[in-house]
Amino acid sequence: MSIFDKFQQLAATRRELEKSCDTFFNIVMEEIISGTEAVINGRPTILAGSNNYLGLSFDSDCIDAACEAVRKEGTGTTGSRMANGTFAGHLALERELAEYFGRQSAIVFSTGYVANLAILSTLVGPGEVILLDADCHASIYDGCRLGGAEVIRFRHNDAKDLAKRLRRLEKRNTNVLVVAEGLYSMMGDRAPLADIVAVKRKYGAYLMVDEAHSLGVLGKNGRGLAEEAGVEDGVDFVVGTFSKSLGAIGGFCVSNHPELNLVRYASRPYVFTASSSPSVIASTRAALKILQTGSELRQRLWENANLLYNTLQNLDFAVGPEASPIVAIQLEDKAEAFALWSGLLENGVYVNLVLPPATPDGNCLLRCSVSAGHTPEQMDRICEAFTAVRKAVKTG
């Protein structure tokens, strides 16, 4: 018996998938042309499956800031935030995030994944309860698992189901943290945040919202769904990432609870990770400035989002419940999903193909995402590619 025996099922699944579509496991961005285009399989391809919502990964101010930082401060911090890894830039970014969100405290983490791991595993402990939306991201589930709290799911976007579960917990008289997301990463749907806030207030629970996909995308100032829904004061903790609208990598948590600052000392994922490199912090700070004045970018993003959503709807694709920069097509048939995905690639458009169990309901997903950086010509080409593959797969 080998230590690798348990991976045999995985190997068989991979072989099976490779038979259907040999490129699925071999997508490499061979050359990056811009934030919205790369060379894949030797061919320039439009990227309609990234999370570069505002197109800032190639913004000249962000690049200049990163270059300057790497020359001045080096390629890495080589240490934890708790030791030698807190540079002036890390603290400045925490101040700027707190100010942007109008909150008292902020912590910066090395990735968005680590932010969820750190907050959820530390904030809520044994004897306490986390109530999370069933469709929450894997990092939220993993954070819950790492801590000692009791973890209960409520039905996706169902505030009544949440209320029912909070009612059941009432007599336990314990701390409860409710967790939801601003925009759900697979289907691009918003949480019913005003309803969730009303419920959590009624039962005296705490609320954490992961705005990973909604930062820079929703709200007049881009602060996410809580801002758009007008319920920022009802959200105790906002978690987010720098790897989407801010075009870099990293994560954060902001809160009006001053005790948030204590969490960092108790959080293993914070303490035992090297801090973000200076160039990442510098480009994120530059991107955050742009994001605050980025209403034009947001407008362009939403124009592109509505165009793709309406086009796919007119092509009779089973898209998600509402238009958003994440436009997902649900497909029951794996073969059809592979045919459409490969067809799009042949037509010079890359989207994400997501297979169960990573999807919410067991279907396959063609997950497309648009960017403010997509030009009208690129949007036309994306829509034309979908029209072409729709016709080919229907008639083929």
């Binding site: 309860v129 069933a134 819950c144 009791e150 973890v151 209960i152 799911r153 039905r155 579960r165 059941r168 917990l169 007599k171 169960p356 169990p357 309901d361 067991g362």
Partner: protein, 82 residues
């Protein structure tokens, strides 16, 4: 308080659609090996049990559940906990 037998009865009803032809469901039926349940189906079943018994089942208990009996025992504990 619901007794163990009542919980079993409810579980048999909820699991019946997943029982392959020729198999008789019992306490020792293995949810994965005998019924072929994947994680998605397990979560749907958990929701059905929660609705029928008006309880919330923490994800933390699921690693302890392999058979119908394991599931019934955990549910009984939850109901006992109130």
């Amino acid at each position: 308080m619901r007794v163990y037998e009542n919980i079993l009865e409810e579980l048999y009803k909820i699991l019946q659609p997943f029982v392959p032809q020729g198999l008789k469901i019992g306490e020792e039926t293995d949810l994965v090996a005998d019924l072929g349940l994947d994680s998605l189906k397990v979560m749907n079943i958990v929701e059905s049990v929660e609705d029928r018994l008006d309880i919330s089942i923490p994800l933390n208990i699921l690693p302890e559940v392999r058979t119908v009996k394991d599931f019934a025992v955990q549910i009984q504990k939850l109901i006992g906990d109130g």
